[in-house]
């Protein structure tokens, strides 16, 4: 530092001496003193630059310059408050939207799973193409468990189940899953209290044990450690509490489970009699921990090989049926993280891409503003260069100014993002896991800072490039507003505007496709009237309601009472509520048709459910033929059913189904096939979901075949949810220990079906709207600037007799040309990009011509409107003033 100061102190003197010596030399060579001095100076070069470069050798000059530039930049920004405000607002919108979406991506996609060394956890399954679903049954799992070399450990778990907990406060309906004893070991999770299941507890018919989660332990057991060893009743079966799961424990598949019980899985799931499967094949979910040496691809190969061996070991008559479900090539292995977030990833990445486009457009807009201003500042830049500022030095100055704007925009953007995140938390669909965890954490803040600086650099580049083109002579010589770089600046502005239009077209097309998908989805008729319908679930404890009579009486009584409630117009109950309904695949044999072959994959089957009389009226499911089930179909009458239209299409294409009979192995009587008579045909209802296909369905009467788990359905003349407590009261009047749960309106069920599509559509429409607004401002700015630059020329034209119409169309044509180029570019990009969101669309192709056409027209109209104001202004140029304007 001291050395530096000493060296620099003498620099001025050294340079003076140097030039003096050169001058003396020149004089000695015979030049005149003036000539000699001039030659010496020219030979030396730019003194200021030499001094500056020498100083730079020594120092942290860059820091001093930066502070200087920041001070200068802020002063310049203060001098043009409108530019500064518009630029900051534009950037704030872009950065805010990006930060908000990134916070969601950060919370959902970049989140690490809360398990030990989660990177080695995989989720494995067999995908059965003919069924369109995953199927791993006990035999396959046993094969995988005993024969694999790729996994350190492997575990299976059931789909979520429900249990009624009694013996700890008032009875409560809880969610639980059946898991193998190995599950917690695979995940690397240990109970915070007590122990994991023992192998004995996990054997078929082993002792009943239960693990509680932290929330349940605190709310129902007061966080009492002595709960370990206590016996509680789950569905009235005694279970011993053996442990408490750690606080914050997350179950798999983003599902919240209150408790875990041992799976007690048998090695094989078949009993074979007469070639017909007895019971059902239970679907298992499998999670495993890869050995450090193993790979996902290796695991897939091994599981496929094991599938083959499992198939070989099955009895002959099952091979044909199960070959389809077990065969080679079915095994799929996913990293657990990918499995957990796989279905939301495309949508989130699409949103991230969409906001990225918005930010690019914002950048282009601010760059345009900067360019317009840069022209006004050309003189300043020229003077700086003349005084010895290098190009790089000027560039640094301009970039510092841009960064100041960008950081201000970033700060404002963070405020916007904080607000947007709250909005997202409120309106985002529930099926995006961990979305509520999104916040402005450190990573998100760094992201915001990063994109702020990046945008500053990006839009700051435009004026820098423009400054490089500045020709000193032209600018310093000319006094007027015309200068050499205007053409270059305008070319760059046009390029930026074309880009903006292209990007907003892509966003608009994406938004159009998503809106159309959403409308297609909501236009699907669910097959019933969802308005003003309340549903709530009741499950009878089996040990108190063992006899069919008790079950029958309970629901018969309850439905009668509910129907009598004020505000209820009709009431019923069903085992399978539409959209949420559990469908089954029960083999049936139609009487009078050749004996069915149950060893082929698509054997004759239907989903068989029960409803109480009044159910169809409550949901307004239409009757197509015959009659509904009613009181005539009581306990002593022949078993009557109604079937849906899909059933008729499959089994009675050319016959009248009314009066026909079929047999199935299920029903009120146990053992052996029992006959069912078709008395009516009802309209198809969407059981599995709006977008799913409709399969053959049979609906029996709950008076003939009562069930313990039913969903109550009430059509009301008042607000459905206002009746929830009345329903609970009626249930408790019959059985005071019985909880109702899952109360909601059918409209809510329907709208949660389309919630994610609605969220995607709304978000992208919002971004596209923002993009179009910015693009419109951009094209307006460019045209307005062009008109102001051409005032002189326009004045001449008008003076020579050009009518306002000519001028108007001239300017509009120019704007439209820009818009057309942008639109063509945008169409090309859209063709390439929309196929990436194919998976998010429903009933509409990624290159839907109607959407492309409408969006193009809309955008061109917006562009035309944005050009209108400057074009109109051009017609009012006063030739006298314009010609004097120099």
């Amino acid at each position: 530092m001291i050395r530096r100061n000493r060296m620099l102190e003498d620099l001025d003197q050294d340079i003076c001496d140097h030039i003096e010596r050169e001058t003396q030399d020149n004089i000695a060579r015979g030049m005149s003193p003036e000539e000699a001095r001039f030659a010496a100076l020219r030979k030396f070069g730019n003194v200021t630059r030499v001094k500056e470069e020498t100083r730079e050798v020594w120092s942290i000059v860059w820091l001093e310059q930066l502070l200087q530039d920041v001070r200068y930049g802020l002063r310049m920004l203060k001098k043009s408050p409108v530019f500064t405000a518009v630029a900051i607002l534009t950037l704030a919108l872009g950065i805010g939207a990006n930060t908000a979406i990134f916070s969601v991506v950060n919370a959902v996609l970049f989140r690490t799973l809360p398990y030990h060394d989660a990177g080695r956890l995989v989720w494995a399954t067999n995908f059965v193409p003919s069924q369109g679903q995953n199927l791993v049954f006990a035999d396959v799992y046993t094969g995988w468990r005993t024969q694999n070399h790729m996994f350190e450990n492997i575990a299976a778990y059931s789909d979520p189940d429900e249990f009624t907990l009694s013996g700890a406060g008032s009875p409560e309906r809880l969610r639980g899953a059946r898991v193998t004893a190995s599950l917690l070991n695979v995940l690397g999770v240990a109970p915070q209290l007590g122990r994991n299941f023992s192998p004995e507890e996990d054997r078929p018919a082993g002792t009943k044990a239960v693990l509680l989660n932290d929330r349940l332990w605190r709310s129902n057991f007061g966080a009492d450690p002595s709960v370990i060893g206590r016996v509680v009743a789950l569905d009235d079966v005694p279970y011993t509490v053996i442990g408490i799961l750690p606080r914050g424990f997350e179950f798999l598949d983003n599902s919240q489970e209150d408790l875990l019980v041992p799976f007690q899985l048998a090695d094989s799931s078949f009993e074979v009699s007469n070639g017909i499967l007895k019971g059902s094949v239970q679907q298992l979910n499998v999670v495993a921990r890869l050995r450090t040496s193993a790979t996902v691809a290796g695991a897939v190969n091994e599981l496929n090989a094991i599938n083959e061996r499992v198939l070989e070991s099955l009895p002959g008559n099952l091979k044909r049926l199960l070959g389809d479900m077990t065969g080679q090539g079915h095994a799929q292995v996913f990293l657990l993280h990918d499995h957990e977030i796989g279905n939301v990833r495309p949508a989130l990445l699409m949103l991230l891409g969409a906001v990225g486009f918005v930010l690019l457009i914002a950048c282009a807009n601010v760059a345009n503003l900067q360019l317009a201003r840069a022209t006004a500042r050309e003189k300043e830049v020229a003077v700086r260069s003349a005084l010895g500022a290098s190009r790089w030095r000027v560039a640094k100055l301009l970039l510092t100014e841009s960064s100041a704007v960008a950081i201000a925009g970033g700060v404002a953007g963070l405020l916007l993002a904080a607000w947007a995140i709250r909005l997202i938390h409120r309106f985002a669909p529930e099926n995006i896991p961990h979305l509520q965890g999104s916040s402005l954490d450190l990573r998100v803040l760094l992201f915001a800072l990063g994109i702020s600086l990046l945008t500053g650099l990006l839009f700051g580049l435009a004026p820098v490039l423009a400054s490089f083109r500045i020709s000193l002579n032209n600018i310093l010589k000319e006094a007027g507003p015309y200068s050499g770089s205007v053409t270059g600046t305008r070319r760059m502005q046009r390029a930026l505007t074309v880009t903006e239009i292209a990007l907003s077209l892509v966003l608009l097309i994406g938004a159009g496709l998503l809106v159309k998908s959403f409308r297609h989805l909501t236009a699907i008729q669910p097959g019933f009237d969802p308005h003003e319908v309340l549903i709530a679930r009741v499950t009878l404890p089996l040990d108190q309601y063992q006899s069919l009579d008790r079950q029958r009486t309970f629901f018969e009584q309850l439905v009668e009472k509910l129907r009598a409630l004020p505000g209820v117009t009709s009431a019923g109950a069903t085992t399978a509520i539409p959209l949420r309904g559990i469908t089954n695949n029960t083999p049936i044999q139609i009487e009078g048709q050749p004996p069915a072959d149950f060893t082929v994959p698509n054997f004759p089957s239907a989903s068989i459910n029960s409803v109480t009389p009044g159910y169809f009226a409550a949901l307004r499911v239409p009757l197509i033929e015959g009659r509904f089930l009613d009181r005539r179909d009581g306990a002593n009458a022949p078993n009557s059913v109604v079937v849906n239209q899909a059933f008729v299409r499959r089994f009675f294409e050319k016959e009248d189904p009314i009066g026909k009979r079929f047999t199935a192995n299920v029903g009120p009587r146990t053992g052996g096939p029992q006959p069912w008579t078709i008395v009516g045909v009802i309209g198809d209802t969407k059981q599995r979901g709006l977008a799913s296909d409709i399969t053959p369905e049979v609906t029996a009467s709950a008076l003939q075949w009562p069930r313990i788990m039913m969903t109550l359905v009430l059509r009301t003349s008042v607000d459905p949810l206002s009746l929830v407590s009345a329903v609970r009261q009626e249930v408790n009047n019959i059985d005071k220990n019985l909880p109702i749960y899952g109360a909601q309106t059918m409209n809510d069920v329907l709208s949660s079906e389309v919630a994610s599509q609605r969220f995607n559509a709304v978000a992208v429409v919002g971004f596209a709207g923002l993009a179009v607004l910015l693009a419109a401002v951009g094209i307006y700015g460019v045209m307005a600037y062009a008109v102001s630059q051409r005032t002189h020329e326009l004045g001449v034209r008008i003076a020579l007799g050009a009518g306002s119409r000519n001028v108007l169309s001239m300017i509009l044509k120019e704007g439209l040309r820009l818009a057309l180029v942008g639109v063509l570019l945008g169409l090309a990009v859209s063709f390439a990009l929309t196929r990436l969101i194919r998976g998010l669309l429903f009933g509409v192709k990624p290159t839907d011509p109607a959407t492309f056409a409408i969006v193009t027209v809309v955008l061109l109209a917006v562009a035309l409107a944005a050009c209108w104001i400057p074009a109109h202004r051009a017609t009012r140029v006063d030739p006298i003033i314009a010609l004097r304007y120099e």
Partner: protein, 120 residues
């Protein structure tokens, strides 16, 4: 001033100016103007050095301690700064000269056959 035609002059390669300064100072301490003159004279004015660019280079070398500064008086008895080569600078010069010879040799090996081919 310009004893050579414009087309014969070549712009200095980045960093070669440092080398030329070191080479000049090998002959003994000199002040700035003398260094500039020596480079110009020795290269028969082929190398075009804006004299001003000498100063950042000199300071760069001082900062690296390849040269040092001494106060003295010049021919005409004026106070002047003399730049001298340090031991470290001498080592660097040797190192850099070897490097430069290799580089120049390689370039000429590449260029020469091409020119012969073009003429034949």
């Amino acid at each position: 001033m310009s004893t050579k035609e414009e087309k014969d002059r070549i712009e200095l390669l980045q960093g070669t100016l440092d080398l030329l300064i070191l080479r000049t100072l090998l002959l003994g301490p000199a002040h700035g103007h003398a260094v500039a003159k020596a480079i110009e004279f020795n290269s028969e004015s082929v190398l075009q050095v804006e004299q001003g660019s000498l100063y950042p280079a000199l300071h760069r070398l001082i900062k690296r301690r390849w040269i040092s500064v001494e106060a003295g008086t010049s021919e005409n008895n004026r106070r002047a700064k003399f730049y001298c080569l340090t031991a470290k600078g001498r080592r660097q010069l040797l190192l850099q000269t070897n490097k430069w010879d290799k580089f120049a040799g390689a370039i000429s090996r590449i260029l020469r056959p091409a020119r012969q081919g073009g003429e034949s």
